[in-house]
């Protein structure tokens, strides 16, 4: 139970539609999400292939938990070789797309080849069809969604769609799951665009059977109680609820990470949003948190409709403090533009703030900057540059290519200001504050990412409820967020690697499942006598698979580096003067490799480690 044993395959070059059948061993070995994605990418993507060519493979993968009545398991992962990093690409999003796929009796979707004309795929339990999307090409997700619903006559269908960002192969184009959730990172929208695949619509109604309904009910009750104890303010104020504390801590990225404290923080906080432009809250299927913001700004320069979700913390810091902007309506407008074109808000904001700093140092040619107000704090400049990115014009067209290509065009002297790891622009979590997060940025298979990563503050006090998860793994002492060294390497090797279970099982990070409860959930759904040890091994296995994929594509330990900025001191705030010591960082990284069973210099997994994880097939390939 817990899986259908059927993975749908659609070849867009030939129009062939088929099904891969898998047994318990497969599902127990990979579980879902990242596990299934890494498996297919390693098996089917030719090494060094063009990520925007027909040989790239896209995998849409929920997990064995998706579509059950457990709360916080309605997400799904999407993966392909990333056009942004050239390595393993993956992102996750909420909503109900993964649920509907599972209710259509498929455990995942693998898309190969490329169409020569715009198409969309419609999946039902009995029929899978590749349909013409000529009239959808050029539409934004809101319009696209409405047209598909009319075409297939199913108002309950769920959509994964690209916007003009993906159609134009913008390097950080994303995928909309409905109109309120986005798979933001790794440029997967561009891969979908390269396949001329506008959307995948799913109509599913058959809920999977579960092994132990009572256990699921009991776990669900615990999650709702746990949520009430700690997450009520998430419902009230959304993911930007913590802005005042982040700012007080000196970890609120400001003016392209030059500073850690923003004077206008109160104007862009979650509280401010709740008090001013919030009109409703939305949620993923079956989740009580309701973290999604529905906002509206009427009759002003920055008019924003309720068609898409409002900005999350990342977008608020990105288009707000990191661009020196304390105007929430402008941030909301930028967020809406990104959603309309379906591009990643984090990457777009990071590229813009990099350009603003370059402009402040007169590093940009005047023919690209004439007519633009490129000062930190300029709403007009930020929005104009964003439109240029989306419409592929002027300086924006260059920024849309991502950090490394933008630097190639704009000149080497601009390199220090476009902050990235493996060409994935940095999220807005300050690694000089959370140094374990910095370690994760370096080592993550998708480049700088903040989700399958550790937030050091959660393990900074033994009294904190969140520390219990670390203690459960045998970590007995709390660690200073700004520390490095062997204890931090150990924390990452345990907690960091195991955080990827959220991407494997497609669990929301805001649901307070601890590791044992995650295991209980898998047991309850599948009926397997699976242990936490075994689940942790799945995390480790998938982490090694994604590492192997990157090594195969030519990435090395030299790519596991942080931008130079973070080895320089923060210029203001509570952490003024704080920096990441380069030698200590490298030493901690080498130790982490070593603890993971990788070569401590090259970061290559040892043969023994791969065989221990039952990945012998991967070595042979």
């Amino acid at each position: 139970m817990g899986y259908w044993g059927r993975i749908l395959r659609v070849n867009l070059s030939t129009g062939e539609i088929g099904v891969d059948c898998h047994d318990e061993k497969f599902y127990r070995t990979y579980l879902g999400g990242r596990g299934i994605i890494a498996y297919y990418l390693l098996k089917e993507v030719p090494a060094k292939c063009d990520p925007l060519g027909p040989d790239n493979v896209m995998v849409f993968a929920p997990s064995v938990l998706t579509g059950t009545s457990l709360p916080g398991v309605s997400r799904n992962s999407i993966g392909a070789k990333s056009p942004l990093t050239g390595g393993y690409g993956e992102g996750e999003g909420g909503g109900d797309w993964g649920v509907k796929l599972r209710w259509a009796k498929y455990d995942a979707l693998v898309v190969t080849g490329a169409s020569d004309k715009p198409v969309y795929i419609h999946i039902t339990e009995n029929v899978v069809s590749i349909r013409d999307a000529a009239e959808l090409w050029g539409t934004e997700p809101y319009e696209c969604s409405g047209k598909i619903i009319a075409d297939i006559d199913d108002p309950k269908a769920s959509m994964a769609m690209i916007g003009k960002g993906g159609e134009q192969h913008i390097s950080f184009a994303c995928i909309a799951l409905g109109t309120h959730n986005y798979v933001g990172r790794s440029g997967l929208g561009a891969v979908m665009g390269s396949k001329k695949l506008k959307a995948v619509a799913v109509s599913g109604v058959s809920r999977p059977e579960v092994a132990d309904k009572e256990k699921i009910q009991s776990l669900s009750k615990k999650m709702v109680e746990g949520y009430k104890a700690g997450m009520e303010t998430m419902t009230e104020m959304g993911t930007a609820r913590g802005v005042p504390v982040v700012n007080a801590a000196g970890g609120f990225p400001t003016r392209n990470f030059q500073e850690g404290s923003f004077e206008g923080f109160e104007n862009i906080s979650g509280r401010r949003m709740t008090d001013t432009i919030l009109v409703d809250r939305k949620t993923c299927l079956g989740c009580p948190v309701r973290c999604k913001r529905v906002i509206e700004v009427k009759g002003k320069q920055c008019e924003v409709t309720t068609n898409y979700s409002g900005p999350e913390y990342e977008s608020i810091s990105g288009f707000g403090s990191n661009c020196g902007i304390d105007n929430l309506e402008a941030v909301a407008k930028a967020n809406e533009i990104c959603n309309q074109y379906a591009i990643d808000t984090i990457s777009a904001a990071a590229m813009i703030s990099g350009a603003l700093e370059c402009a402040s140092k007169n590093l940009l040619p005047s023919e690209l900057t004439d007519g633009l107000d490129l000062q930190f704090g300029s709403v007009e400049g930020m929005l104009e540059l964003l439109i240029q990115i989306c419409e592929q014009k002027g300086l924006g067209k260059i920024l849309s290519k991502g950090p490394q290509q933008a630097v190639e065009i704009l000149g080497k002297e601009t390199e220090p200001y476009f902050l990235h790891v493996k060409n994935q622009p940095l999220p807005f979590q300050e690694p000089r504050w959370k140094k374990g997060m910095g370690l994760g940025y370096a080592i993550s298979p998708t480049g700088a990412e903040h989700m399958a990563n550790i937030h050091d503050v959660l393990y900074a006090a033994e009294e904190a409820p969140s520390f219990a998860a670390a203690k459960n793994m045998g970590i007995m002492e709390a660690l200073d967020p700004s520390s490095l060294g062997a204890p931090k390497a150990r924390l990452w090797a345990y907690m960091g690697v195991n955080r990827s279970i959220h991407n494997i099982l497609c669990i929301c990070s805001f649901m307070p499942y601890n590791f044992d409860q995650i295991t209980e959930a898998v047991q309850a759904v599948t009926g397997w006598n699976i242990s936490s040890w075994e689940v942790m091994k799945v995390s480790e296995r998938c982490f090694n698979m994604t590492r192997w994929f990157n090594l195969r594509e030519g990435l090395t330990s030299e790519d596991d580096m942080l931008p130079e900025r973070f080895h320089q001191p923060l210029q203001n705030g509570a952490l003024k003067g704080e920096f990441i010591d380069k030698d200590a960082f490298r030493e901690t990284l080498d130790l982490t490799y070593s603890m993971l069973g990788w070569d401590e210099k090259t970061g290559v997994p040892s043969k023994g480690k791969l065989l221990e994880l039952d990945l012998g097939w991967m070595i042979e390939r």
Binding site: G230, G242, V457
Partner: protein
Amino acid sequence: MLTVHVKLIGIFALLLNNRKTMSLDIQEGTNVIQCIRKAADFGEAELQRALLDKRGELNAEIVVLLNKALIPPSDLSQTTMSSGDILTLIPMVAGG
């Protein structure tokens, strides 16, 4: 009057010149949020802004423990302090 103790973790201690604990004399019947407001008064504006919003309500993403037991935000004004109680304030910012 009652005497209670407040433990400040991480950034909150840093903003109070690395002072990690304080003892407060409070009136009988004082609730948790009132006690936190009193603790915030000990610090400079930075500590007050880190702990409380403009309305004097506790900022989000702060974990409050009373004698090691978690107090949900909605219970802060309904939970009264007793003599010898230890209130722990932990910043928990994970973003999203």
